[in-house]
């Protein structure tokens, strides 16, 4: 696919590439004229011409070389500009593609690894598209021109014989090319692994510092750096070997010429002058040949990178939107019908035969022990993963028949670990919307009980929260994430995944009161919590145990029957946990 991208791009910019070929070709043709011109000039001096003709030659020399320089510069600029445009498009594609992939994909790839593609692989491709193309063109034209001169002015047989060793070049290329490509891939992979570790390590700096683990991390990093070093050295060995083989072949050509051509000259089958000229031409061939070697090198490296990028672009989103989506029903009830779910790489079902209905406009609490599948359940509701067909319904529409855009427009969500962007508080809160009035911002902040805090900051809504919100306290971060969900006023379903865990009971009470507003507006509210106090306004509570729904009913009723709910309730009201054991 990525290779097709290259061809498509070249086709799309065919005209410009044509101009590039013409300008660089022309410039080389002109460049070849310069020695001729100097020759003619020396000749004219030999014949004692006038001063004016000297000036004439000098001016012509200046003009011709100016033309060459400008044409060449233009060609070079154009091709490299295109390479950079292509680079930009490739980056755009990659980013746009990443946006279509589901969370599961990002669980399998670290940020450092993905970044390394942007940082190390894409520039490789650019190099081939820019410098590579321009060198190939130069080499091609120079090679052709020289070869033409050699064949025309000297003995054809000699030319052919001299070129025989050069036939080894394709042999060398086909032999070493795959090796070089493979090595280049290994280098890029080791770089990926290195940035992988660096990224993770930098992101966990607080952990590392608080456990005095700096030395261990450095050692780990050293391992990765050493690996990149060794792979790079191996690559250097291969590349230098390859780049020496080509001049070696030309050297052999030269030696053959010297001996065989000398013989021809001795036996007067060619003139001495022709022999001399031939050696000159042959030496002129060395440069384009070396350039070819260089380009082949670049191409091998970049095709390794291109394949790596291709792999990324080929990753298919695991979740597909239906071809003929049904619209999300208005004011839907949510029904789980015998939902059983297992993660692709986990064993055993995480959710086991969940069967329940959440009527529209009700407030439902979900409780359950750690790892019982609560977050999984709401992830499925957001269709971050695909539930089996026929298990989740909005009214009577299967979730799999709804376009995700439509689905998510109707649901608002506060994730358990509220990620914030390293921008301002205001940006983060207004994130779900394209345009937000200030009063809406204030209203959402008020509902999440964060307004007075924000107003206490010197720059208010413009306060920068730092990477992942690090400049805020845990509870402030959580409430910003909550305000972000609440600003999506058009959402009929609001889900809170353990979103009051980092706030004190006073703030909790205040927030719950504003959640009561949601209820009055007739929206469905789902609250996951370990603190039963957060569920005080719930109409019903679902209790999950190891993926099974064991209790579902009004809190009052649940209290009357023995079970997990009552156990939890007792623990949180009467004895403290320490005493409970």
């Amino acid at each position: 696919m990525a290779r097709r991208l290259v061809w498509n791009f070249i086709r799309e910019h065919g005209l410009t590439y044509l101009i590039v070929v013409v300008t660089i070709g022309l410039s080389k043709v002109i460049q070849v004229q310069i020695p001729n011109l100097i020759g003619a000039f020396v000749n004219s001096l030999e014949h004692h011409e006038m001063l004016s003709s000297v000036r004439f030659y000098a001016v012509r020399l200046a003009l011709v070389s100016a033309a060459f320089v400008m044409l060449f510069g233009l060609g070079q600029y154009l091709v490299n500009r295109l390479a950079r445009v292509f680079e930009g498009e490739l980056r755009h594609r990659l980013f746009a593609h990443w946006e279509t992939l589901e969370p599961h994909y990002f669980h399998r790839h670290t940020v450092g690894d993905l970044l390394s593609h942007v940082l190390n692989d894409i520039p490789q491709v650019r190099q081939a598209m820019g410098g590579g193309v321009s060198q190939v063109l130069q080499a091609l034209f120079l090679f052709a021109a020289t070869l033409y001169m050699a064949m025309r002015h000297v003995n054809l047989v000699l030319t052919v014989i001299a070129l025989v060793p050069l036939l080894g070049i394709p042999l060398v290329v086909t032999n070493m090319g795959p090796k070089m490509r493979g090595q280049s891939r290994r280098v890029q992979e080791s770089l990926s692994e290195m940035s992988d570790l660096a990224e993770e390590s930098l992101a966990s700096i607080r952990l590392i510092k608080s456990t005095a683990n700096e030395d261990i991390e450095s050692e780990r990093f050293r391992g990765r750096v050493d690996a990149t070093y060794h792979e790079a050295m191996q690559q250097v060995r291969l590349n230098t070997l390859f780049q020496s083989l080509i001049p070696l072949l030309t050297g052999i050509s030269f030696a053959v010429t010297l001996s065989y051509g000398g013989d021809l000259a001795l036996t007067h089958r060619i003139s001495l002058g022709a022999f001399v000229a031939f050696t000159v031409y042959l030496s002129m061939l060395v440069r384009p040949l070396m350039q070819f070697g260089n380009v082949i090198n670049i191409v091998q490296n970049s095709s390794a990178s291109l394949i790596r990028i291709e792999t990324l672009l080929n990753a298919q989103p695991a979740i597909q939107d239906p071809a003929n989506p049904k619209p999300m029903p208005p004011k839907p009830s949510i029904t789980f019908r015998h939902l059983t779910y297992r993660y692709p790489d986990g064993h055993g079902p995480v959710l086991d035969d969940i069967h329940l209905t959440i009527p529209f406009g009700s407030t439902v609490g979900i409780v359950g022990r750690t790892g019982s599948g609560k977050s999984t359940l709401v992830s499925l509701l957001l269709r971050e993963m695909d539930p089996p067909p026929g298990t989740i319904f909005f009214d009577d529409v299967d979730i799999r028949d709804i376009h995700r855009r439509d689905l998510r427009a109707h649901i608002s969500y506060v994730p358990q670990d509220g990620f914030l962007f390293s921008s301002s508080v205001g940006y983060n809160i207004s994130f779900p919307r394209d345009t937000v009035d200030h009063w809406e911002l204030v209203e959402a902040a008020r509902q999440a009980e964060i307004l007075s805090t924000i107003e206490g900051f010197p720059s208010q809504f413009e306060t920068l929260v730092g990477e992942r919100g690090i400049n805020l306290s845990g509870g402030q971060r959580q409430r910003v994430a909550m305000a972000r969900a609440l600003i999506k006023t058009q959402a009929e379903i609001v889900i809170f995944d353990d979103s009051l865990s980092a706030v004190d009971s006073r703030t909790e009470t205040a927030i719950l009161r504003s959640l009561g507003e949601l209820k009055r507006q007739g929206r469905t509210v789902i609250i996951i919590s370990h603190r039963l106090s957060s569920l005080r306004y719930a109409d019903r509570v679902a209790v999950l145990e190891e993926g099974r729904l064991t209790q579902y009913g009004a809190p009052k009723d649940l209290l009357r029957e023995p079970g997990l709910y009552r156990h939890l309730y007792d623990m949180q009201t009467e004895g403290g946990p320490a005493r409970g054991c």
Binding site: F41, M50, Y57, S218, G262, D345, G576
Partner: protein, 592 residues
Amino acid sequence: MDVKGRTVAPSSRQSWRGLIRYAWPYRWRWLAIVGLVIIYNLTQVIQPDLVKIAIDRYLLVPHAHLRPLIELGLGYLAMTGLGLVANMMQTRWVAATGQAIVRQLRMELFRHIESLSLRYFETHDTGRLLTHISSDTTRISQFFTQFLLSLIRDGLTIVLVLAAMLWLNWRLGLLAATVIPIIVALSALFRPPLYRAYDRTRSRLSRLIAFVAENLTGMRITQIFHQEAKQLRAFDTLNTAYQEASINEFRWDVLFNRTFDLLGNLAVAFVAWIGGAAVLHRAIPLGVLYAFISYIQQFFAPINSLTQNWNTLQSSLISAERVSEVLATEPTLRDPPDPVHLPHIKGHVVFDHVSFAYQPDRPVLRNIVLDIPPGAFIGIAGETGAGKSTLISLMARFYDVTEGRILIDGIDIRAMAQQDLRRIVAVVQQEVYLYSGTVLDNIRLFRPEVSREAVIEAARLTGADEFIRRLPEGYDTWLTPRGANLSTGQRQFLAFARTIILNPQILVLDEATAHIDAISEAAVQAALMQVAKNRTTLVIAHRLSTIRDADQIAVLHQGAIVEQGTHHELVRRGGLYAEMVQKSQAPLSSYA
């Protein structure tokens, strides 16, 4: 503007000196490389000579023989071989040196960044730091592998050609040498715009990378709120800005290089003109002029190659500048010159009139006085944003107090080495950080000296063992980045197990059970109490049942301790704590 008003190239001498410092350990290798370059150049010079010998001695004579020609051919081949080997060795050594320098630089950078204080990370995002480690270092190495090599190789050639010209005819030689000041002047002229162009590209690139890094981490949020289009637009803005900068940079490159190309050709024309006139006036013989013209051409070939590498020089100088900026950043918190070692910790912690502010005149903690006897279990409660986590950060010396002091067993923590302090005080933080790696390694933090048994024992103690065993591969299950294949509570369990391994004398739990259900929490706490029997323990919790058995509970309000006492004392007092307790329970009881 992203140039931040820096319109002129900064002290490049400093950057240069920084660069040379890295090359210095390899000075002997560089010398060897110079030797190889000379050998290679000699073979290149001798090769045409061999052809000349062939012509002059063996072809132009009557009754010539083929044999010596074949010998010459073989000699030529030998020369080629020698030259190639020399060239290959030289390239390899240069590359090896470059790679060694990158390796060293990366290690140095990484170590240094890890040693910086937390403040630094509040203002420098991961994406940017990663660009330094991954790509700036590569660029710096190009200084050695490309620029320095070219400087050696081409510099040598330039000197030789210049010497030859002067030797041939000093007047014409001097005339030709006038191009040198022109070259210098042109380079000086081009330097500021080139520098600006490079600097802009670099800073735009790191901004782009930082954006991508952050958005990859937060992709889930973007998707859930369906803001893909908005983020893509933001990406495009940065991407286009970078692309433009990069194209602009290349435009300057081409302009710069072609200018020198043009200069070289004009110089040829100029010499032809002046020299031609001289020949006509019989001031110099024609042969000399011819030689001169080819010398001028030879003179500009290395100049062109040098200017082409001049770009590399510029970009590596900029990278060097960025890297040395990082390396020059001192950690804001420094260890004392002779830190105190505490052989035996009792765990007596005293906050002695501690005040603290993240930003000047916005105090977060005010005059905190707290005496924690050895082995005590202290609970800290308070509204969100009251400053509880900050208090802990001060104790682990992530920041230095603005006023007052913190003592452990009577010693000011600023008198200890930070690493020593953090081996004494272990904080289970509000956020859990996990690595992509096995569960085992995550618990033991990759420490090789911690055995598998110890890890399993720690997990069993905290109750994590139960769920770990149910994972597909038990302790060897590979955790995905940031532990995304675990539930949030399970992640907190791992953080607990970690702490057991660390075996600290002072244990601090900052909302460490927030995402854990009450039953598991009780088990965890019982285990921790057992482990921490004789240890000082500080527990921050919003779920007040967590700390009701504490020996003392301190209630923080807007940065000050407003109440202190046992659970029952505080409830009886009817203050803030009592209100919080009541708020967390009243609605519950109303069900019954």
